[in-house]
């Protein structure tokens, strides 16, 4: 019975998609929002990477919520997995080569992550991509030495303050009589490292938040005891 209804449901979905495919006119419409942004973004926001302009300025609110989703997922994940029991069994530490490699990787990944975050308004990449690399920088040593645990207290401090500073930058604009999340500071010269106003600051907050969030999630998953 369940199989039959599932199959029927899939059939309906397939028909729907086929109908869409049939009637869709491919790329017939000018992207109103996109064209308008492409026309004014360089002047209005001042970031050479327009995707960054959209992510942090035009649709900064979405990004704030996205950070909140990650935060919520990490909080809920902590609730679900709970604290590992004291004296729980760990995987044994890896061999010397892996440990040495992990130690070697740590500063390298840290620098690469920060570089990507800081250049987010100029080149592809930014807080999210850099944040993932930061997270892996902190997580790889744990993979090499499963007996060490991550300092969850410090992580929760970082994620709290990073998220709050994103909102605070937005609220500062309101104090100045502008709307929430209006970009602040001088726009500077297009393509320079110090340009695009408060956008690099926002990306640093995003990078720290994403990095700490994901590192926390990964550590939680790996600290959970095996089920058998």
């Amino acid at each position: 019975m369940r199989r039959l209804s599932s199959a029927l449901f899939l059939l309906g979905l397939g028909l729907l998609i086929a109908a869409i495919f049939q009637t869709m006119e491919f790329a017939s419409v000018a992207p109103i929002a996109g064209q308008a942004i492409n026309a004014v973004a360089a002047e209005q926001v001042g970031a050479a990477n327009f995707v960054t302009s959209v992510v942090l300025a035009y649709r900064g609110f979405d990004t704030l919520l996205e950070l909140t989703i990650l935060f919520t997922a990490a909080t809920a994940g902590g609730l679900v997995l709970g604290k590992p029991r004291a004296g729980a069994s760990h995987d044994p530490d890896s061999g010397f080569i892996l440990r040495a490699g992990a130690d070697l990787f740590f500063p390298l990944l840290l620098v690469v992550g920060l570089y990507i975050i800081l250049h987010g308004h100029l080149t592809p990449g930014g807080g999210f991509q850099g944040g993932v690399i930061l997270a892996s920088a902190f997580f790889i040593p744990i993979l090499a030495r499963p007996s060490t645990t991550m300092d969850h207290r410090r992580i929760s401090m970082i994620e709290g303050f990073a998220g709050a500073s994103f909102i605070l930058i937005g609220l500062l604009a309101m104090l100045g009589g502008k709307e929430f999340l209006t970009p602040l500071l001088a726009r500077g010269e297009l393509g320079a490292l110090l340009s695009a106003g408060s956008l690099p600051l926002l990306y640093i907050a995003v990078g720290l938040k994403v990095g700490s969030e994901l590192a926390g999630l990964l550590a939680q998953l790996s600290e959970t005891e095996a089920s058998d």
């Binding site: 599932s6 929002a33 989703i69």
Partner: protein, 145 residues
């Protein structure tokens, strides 16, 4: 048959394969794989929405603004959607670990039966179809489904 159409096929293909995985799979981990595939297809479709061939990436290099730049809005949207997806994926996997620890299985039918049993036990009523109550049998999943 142009490039755009081929990629559209990929998007709809991923959507259909992902949906099939969600609806027809019996193992919860496989269903989570299906969700990830479905999301990938949806993201691709979103990015394709206003794609035109011959446009360039929406980034200014050396101060020159290219003539035809790609629409940056869907790119930002997909960026958001990918990050949302990984957050939910992590939560789903954490839940799957707990379910496995509690029920000893991730087979969707067994999980559902155990869930019904749990609810019925807590309410203090008989399960209506208690013919094969898996209550006493702690079935352990030893291999992948």
């Amino acid at each position: 048959m142009d490039t755009g159409l081929i990629i559209y096929t990929a998007a709809f293909g991923l959507i259909l394969i992902g949906s099939t995985g969600i609806v027809l799979s019996t193992h919860l981990l496989r269903i989570i794989f299906g969700i990830a595939l479905l999301e990938a297809g949806a993201n691709l479709l979103l990015l394709l929405a206003t794609f035109r061939e011959g446009s360039s990436a929406p980034i200014i290099v050396d101060g020159r603004i290219p003539a035809a730049m790609a629409d940056p809005v869907p790119q930002a949207l997909v960026l958001t959607a990918i990050v949302i997806g990984v957050g939910i994926l992590a939560l789903a996997l954490s839940l799957a670990l707990r379910v496995q620890r509690a029920y000893g299985t991730l087979d969707i039918r067994e999980v559902r039966q155990r869930l019904e049993q749990d609810i019925a036990d807590e309410a203090g009523i008989e399960l209506s179809s208690s013919s094969d109550a898996p209550h006493a049998v702690v079935s352990r999943q030893d291999g992948p489904a």
